[in-house]
Symmetry: C2
């Protein structure tokens, strides 16, 4: 394929992409395929001879689309959102064309420099303390990681390295492995599995701190475990606070936890993978109060800030590291800051805030629908764009309901466990979700319930909608 053909095919692909996203709600949100479906649809080996672009492109609908879970459908309410915006798609095309590997300043100065400045823009949008910004003095700063999992690992490794140096400064005879064997890190019992995995990778103990009835880690709970562990001869060195947990979007109480960590020189990392984007709105910024006690802070613009995956932003306090390569696992890196630059400029701060507020409003709308139905209960405070709810009744009942909802394929949800209860998670995800989708989604949920347990009422408007 030469440049001339690329011009033609690229424009066709732009139309295909626009068509896909404009009409995505006509596609079934969750696929019907069974595991292993794809292998039989394509050859067992790569072709010897080149195929034409027509051959390839026609297979998108035949092979790929039947097996896609459409994350950007307004009927997708599973997991957490992942971003998809037009400015981001355009920036990513440019990123692919430049195709530099930004592992050092010289490898492509613009790649390193735009990233540093974009992380500062982001830090200012979130009103992070100045210590987290690079500015022109380079006292802190941020870097793009692929995912929050990598960011947590990097923070944990930085903390591990710091504590080892501290201890060895006083006790030069203590070996690294001896120190590591005594180290202990902490997170919420609601923390994402990647936090536990970071501990496994780094070879350090990782303990879960029990949360309160709001699924939040409080100061006294951490304090208690710290005292026990110190008495047992362990060395606490790292606490990963979560702002916006995966199960229920709960918030650890960092205004209590931060001072405790600071007092005993425990590195406090904040994982706000989903919720972090909301902190650009003044009304949600108080959720980040306590950030001044943290050593590192991470969230995913690729979740809720309209910057396509992958773009996970980590900011550090005062770093003496100069090159980005010391701040991450991989050496190579794409020119990902272009996506941030396009998105921040073409939405503007106000546009981004409006987007966050709209999603939170839609979640509140769904919450009201649930609360108005006596058969259901809300399982956790609705703070941002996630609603945790369930039928009043057994876990089995709720599991059956969820299975029916997902089997019907009209909307897609995933569950969570909260205090032993099976709970349905309803996360507002797609950029194009509107009130009518929320209303429809609620009708689908009630219909699945009505169709099995209760006779549908003739006056229930959902019956009509369902048939449409």
């Amino acid at each position: 394929m030469d440049a001339a053909e690329f011009r033609r095919r690229g424009k066709e692909m732009v139309d295909y992409v626009a068509d896909y996203l404009e009409n995505i709600e006509k596609r079934q949100v969750y696929p019907d395929v069974e595991p292993g479906y794809l292998r039989s649809l394509i050859p067992e080996e790569a072709p010897e001879e080149a195929e034409s672009y027509e051959d390839v492109v026609k297979d998108i609908e035949r092979v790929i689309m039947p097996g896609v879970t459409h994350w950007h459908s307004p009927y997708f309410y599973a997991y957490f959102p992942t971003a998809n915006s037009f400015p981001s798609l355009l920036a990513d095309m440019l990123c692919g064309a430049i195709g530099c590997i930004g592992f050092s300043w010289a490898a492509s100065p613009a790649c390193t420099e735009l990233e540093t400045v974009m992380l500062d823009w982001l830090g200012k949008m979130l009103k992070l303390p100045a210590d987290f910004l690079a500015g022109t003095e380079g006292r802190g700063g941020g870097v793009i990681q692929g995912t929050a999992s990598e960011a947590t690992l990097i923070a944990l490794l930085a903390a591990r390295s710091k504590i080892i140096k501290l201890i060895q400064a006083d006790h030069p005879d203590r070996s690294e492995t001896d120190i590591i064997s005594k180290l202990v890190a902490y997170s919420s019992d609601q923390a994402h599995s990647s936090v536990e995995r970071a501990g496994l990778i780094a070879g350090v103990k990782m303990k879960k701190i029990p949360t309160d009835n709001k699924f939040s880690v409080r100061g006294d709970a951490l304090q208690k475990v710290l005292e026990e562990d110190r008495a047992a001869g362990l060395i606490p060195f790292f606490f990963c606070a979560t702002l916006g947990t995966t199960p229920s979007c709960a918030f650890d109480c960092i205004t209590e936890l931060g001072p405790i960590c600071n007092a005993v020189e425990i590195w406090m990392h904040i994982d706000a993978a989903y919720a972090g984007s909301a902190f650009i709105c003044p009304e949600f910024r108080p959720l980040l109060n306590g950030i001044e006690f943290a050593d590192s802070f991470n969230f995913n613009p690729h979740k809720w800030l309209l910057v396509n995956f992958d773009c996970s932003a980590i900011s550090y306090v005062i770093s003496h590291l100069i090159s980005l390569q010391h701040w991450q696992i991989p050496l190579g890196r794409r020119f990902r800051s272009l996506k941030m630059w396009f998105v921040f400029r073409m939405y503007g701060l106000k546009g981004l805030q409006a987007y966050i507020r709209k999603h939170v409003g839609l979640a509140k709308e769904f919450e009201s629908l649930v609360r108005a139905d006596q058969r259901f209960e809300i399982s956790a405070d609705v703070v941002l764009g996630l609603v945790c709810f369930r039928l009043k009744g057994s876990n089995e009942l709720n599991e059956t309901l969820l299975k029916r909802i997902n089997n019907a394929r009209n909307i897609h949800l995933v569950p969570c466990q909260l205090a032993g209860k099976f709970v349905l998670r309803f996360a507002v995800c797609a950029r194009t979700t509107e009130s009518r989708h929320i209303q429809e989604a609620w009708c689908h949920i009630r219909l699945e319930l009505n169709s099995t347990e209760l006779r549908p009422s003739r006056t229930d408007p959902c019956s009509r909608l369902y048939i449409v």
Copy 2:
């Protein structure tokens, strides 16, 4: 930006990308900017109000391009190549639009399944032993990582986990940290820095095995260190062999090393980040002989197989892991296998082989030019697309020459150290490099030399070229 504007802007971007790549050799390959250049060119904060696309796009040439090192210029001979092909760019546009996060089968079945099958296609192209393929029985298989750094780390962690289980099976009382403190891993003294870093992250000792006069690790060198370490009470558990080292594209002798590793149950990982792509050609496949002794094998199609970054392929022997999430650090993943699918089909195996052969041929052409000039010497065997060469003379002389070449900005090279000598690395990188670029590059090198040390000859055709 709505879908209608995206259609228009997307098509403009396709033309911009095509223009950029078609005319890339008119741009200066290495930028003139000084560190910090970019910050003063853009505002200190994100705008409050949305800006227009015109505002953003005009800044590409004003802000970004002056700071780009053009990796896809045919005058770029630094580092190793990174891929950039039109089919890959098209697939990446589709990947962005689908925007699924493939952390489990259900999260997007097509994403998990196409990746598994593409890694099998790749395995067959390389004629990997059947144990490395998933097939329909799932005895082995591959997965896409972001970079070789991650792949090495993952292999090391898998090996660490395996040895701990093995030892604890016999000695249930031995703690994990006690075992880890005795573990020792090995690599070539020519191995990439990421191998050493993997050891640091995993908290295990990592030793470098001295190489022979071809910069290759031989069996006896490993054997010697293994015996010493075992005598000292250490537990050897992992050897990272390099096929195609970063400095000189040297090959560890895995036919000797593999049996040694297998005999004492040391996990042998093969890092063929650059060279791996060449193994699709029958004439280069013998370089991979010994693969049958390996436990894991990694190379980067994003380097030399026309699949844009990031796409680093790791294949394992017999795995009982089902979900991709256990095979990598990040949980989230883009639909990267689309790039492989588009590229493999639109080039065909023959097209990919022709591409590799063309680059090797260009390297051989450059080698001949160097050999024909008595002032220069070749510093390592030219096996694939990398030529290591230097002026006969001091390191200072060669440093000066390289500085002059890079300062002139006509071509871009980076150096390496080989056996204490400062050496210039000439890597054939860009997809569009042709014989005329090689000839020009050689002229530029000689001119820099002539302009300082020797008077240019009136009959030297390089003088003419240089002015053009």
